[in-house]
């Protein structure tokens, strides 16, 4: 089941028990990443990007989180029903992750080399792993991967602590760590957003080149639409725990269909100048009392009665272009 995809998320609901009641964060997320595909997941703060990612990686704390519905398949295997031991074997070997803040993701009291060795040795413990590397081979592999991410003088960097490196170098080290065991799937959470644009451009260029040459599937999570446009093939736009639009990058950036996507794109300042739009009225809802139906309807200019009653399904407009909005459903059209 779901073998043709690297990652498949079906109707995922994630709730959190909080003091005020139940916070319904994810409300039926569908997402898939094909083999060798580069997919972006975009949305604003608090839209559930990170919760989605954490569920996939199995690092969501349960409780307080509850997963009432939903399935997550990684390469055909159901992540949510896996034992933690099985999950641990996948992590770091088949699936890797690049975190947002390179400062906090590295341990300041170990050298870069020690941390890289750890990652390589971890993969050695995998039962299916046939090879048995000597110390020398582990060292060589670490050096090779640092060269791959174009860090100058890898021998020296192996003996450095993270504090001695610049932000861009740290991010490169993190990419190296994520790639050293040759995973087939990579999740990158806002890579390079903590860095300056020139450095960010270098990092993104490097990342997409490595991913392409090695045929790794990647899910890139970001709030920066520009980053997705420059590196990804297909995009998911999320709002308040719902996927509102799915499309190939070129299609979406030419012609966003969902009112939220349209508002989002209009808010982005352009390098060519011109006025920016007024933004989107209102604010992201409180998840303990999330709006019924389409969660965007209280902020939507086109809201109709049906929008607050029924959650719009994802409908196909064109091949590979889906939108969840009543403006495009039959019921919505009839209502108008």
């Amino acid at each position: 089941m779901g073998d043709q995809y690297m990652l498949e998320i079906r109707n995922l609901h994630v709730h959190f028990r909080v003091y005020e009641g139940v916070s319904r964060v994810l409300d039926g997320v569908f997402l898939h990443v094909g083999k060798g595909e580069r997919v972006g997941l975009a949305g604003e703060t608090g839209c559930g990007k990170t919760v989605t990612m954490k569920t996939v990686m199995g690092i969501l704390k349960i409780p307080p989180a509850i997963i009432p519905h939903g399935e997550v398949f990684l390469n055909g295997r159901d992540v949510l029903r896996m034992s933690s031991k099985e999950l641990l074997q996948i992590k770091g070997t088949e699936i890797s992750m690049i975190f947002q803040d390179p400062m906090n993701a590295l341990n300041p009291v170990f050298t870069i080399g020690e941390q890289l060795y750890d990652v390589i040795r971890f993969a050695q413990r995998h039962p299916d792993n046939g090879e048995n590397l000597s110390k020398k081979e582990i060292h060589d592999r670490a050096i090779a991967v640092l060269e791959e991410v174009r860090l100058p003088d890898p021998e020296r960097i192996m003996n450095n602590y993270s504090l001695e490196l610049s932000g861009g170098m740290r991010q490169r080290v993190l990419i190296a760590m994520a790639l050293v065991n040759e995973p087939s799937f990579l999740i990158a959470d806002e890579p390079g957003t903590a860095l300056d644009v020139t450095i960010q451009a270098q990092i993104l260029g490097l990342l997409s080149e490595l991913v392409r040459t090695k045929g790794i599937s990647i899910l890139l999570i970001t709030h920066n639409l520009g980053v997705i446009q420059e590196t990804m093939e297909r995009v998911y736009i999320m709002y308040a725990g719902q996927v509102v639009e799915i499309a190939p990058t070129s299609v979406l950036f030419e012609n966003p269909k969902h009112p939220y996507s349209q508002g989002l794109f209009a808010s982005v300042p352009h390098l060519t100048g011109g006025e920016i739009a007024e933004g989107i009225p209102g604010t992201v809802p409180d998840y303990t009392a999330a709006p019924s139906g389409c969660r965007f309807h209280p902020r939507c200019d086109y809201a109709m009665p049906i929008c607050s009653q029924k959650k719009p399904p994802l409908i196909m407009l064109k091949p590979a272009h889906y939108v969840a909005c009543h403006l495009y459903t039959e019921q919505g059209v009839q209502n108008e």
């Binding site: 644009v197 450095i199 451009a201 520009g226 980053v227 982005v268 352009h270 011109g274 007024e278 933004g279």
Partner: protein, 349 residues
């Protein structure tokens, strides 16, 4: 000239690096090494650069949060670098600042009302409680918040609302000049759009002048009328924003613009080719000799590492600090047409 609101000349700010029990000075961070520019009355002047370029230090030194090491700042014809404490109060009433992160720039233990009342008390604008309450309500309305928000605490506000309160605090003393230090970089784009619009409306309505500090070039293009590009403590290019983006002349400016992730084909078309060999911004403790960009620059040769180029006016109102600026100059024919375009831009402004 009477329409110049602020004139900054050769502003220098060093921070000492001290170690040990006796706080012995072992070096200095050369955050700003001679920045000169002026801001006209009613203008939005942009300052862009990467982190560590000294742009925030310039902003903070202008509003006298830091004391300048050297250089002069003239505000409405008065030299404010040598003001005594009493006279500084006049200046601080005229020049205000809005910080990047509204979460840390608002006191979490004070209500919005108490935060907004402070400047009114310090600058003796309203002495009795009823007046203050009325003014606080007006201020909140100015930043498009309901006056009921005055009883809330920052923790009950969203990021955008907090930044609105921070803007209201800056407006409380009725200033003519505001330094905006990355006012929207902690916010989402849809919220950013709303704050930017608010700032633009306030600027027109109250005839304010802004020094707008940001690392976001697309945003600068939208809001600033003139833009200066800073790198390791110095201004490397300064021009009308339109002109700066249409024909950037410094290799660093080109690299910066080319690195911006964009969302449309039109934008990709206007991006210049990058003129950099990679690398990162050098440390201001030990900046490179000559032009600070030379270790990253693809045009660099011997002279660049030996001699710091001057900031020269190569076209009217367009200043560049580069030895090889002629290589990036558009052809004479193209230059003529561009100049016409930029003067039209001026008229619009």
């Amino acid at each position: 000239m009477s329409d110049l609101l602020l004139v900054v000349e050769n502003l220098v700010k060093y921070f000492p690096i001290r170690v040990g029990f006796f706080r012995r000075q072992i070096g200095e961070v050369r955050a700003v090494e001679g920045a000169s520019f002026d801001i006209k009355s009613g203008e939005i002047f942009g300052l862009v650069g990467e982190s560590g370029s000294g742009k925030s230090t310039v902003g903070k030194t202008i509003v006298r949060i830091y004391k300048p090491t050297r250089g002069t700042i003239q505000f409405k014809g008065r030299n404010v670098t040598k003001l005594t404490k009493e006279n500084l109060r006049f200046f601080k009433k005229e020049a205000q600042m809005v910080f990047q992160d509204p979460k840390s720039s608002l006191n979490p233990r004070r209500s919005v009302k108490s935060t907004l009342e402070d400047p009114l008390i310090v600058h003796k604008i309203a002495q009795n409680g009823r007046d203050r309450k009325r003014i606080v309500g007006d201020l909140l309305r100015m930043v498009e918040l309901s006056p009921n928000y005055m009883y809330k605490y920052p923790s009950a506000l969203s990021g955008g609302q907090r930044q609105r309160v921070a803007i209201a605090r800056a407006l409380a003393v009725n200033p003519s000049f505001i330094v905006l230090d990355e006012p929207t970089s902690a916010l989402d784009v849809s919220v950013q759009a709303k704050i930017i619009r608010l700032l633009q409306q306030l600027q027109k309505g109250l005839h304010l002048s802004y020094l707008f500090i940001s690392h976001d070039l697309s945003l600068m293009r939208t809001i600033a009328s003139r833009t200066a590009v800073m790198y390791v403590g110095r201004i490397y290019e300064l021009a009308q924003t339109e002109e700066l983006f249409v024909s950037p002349l410094h290799p660093y400016t080109r690299t910066l613009i080319s690195a911006v992730p964009v969302i449309s084909k039109e934008e990709r078309r206007v991006k210049p080719a990058k003129q950099s060999r990679g690398g990162e911004i050098p440390s201001p403790v030990n900046p490179p000799n000559g032009c600070a960009f030379h270790p990253r620059c693809s045009l660099a040769d011997r002279i660049c590492s030996q001699q710091l180029p001057d900031l020269m006016e190569v076209m009217p109102g367009h200043f560049v600090r580069c030895h090889h600026v002629s290589l990036n100059m558009p052809s004479a024919k193209g230059r003529g047409s561009r100049l016409v375009e930029s003067t039209e831009g001026n008229k619009k402004n």
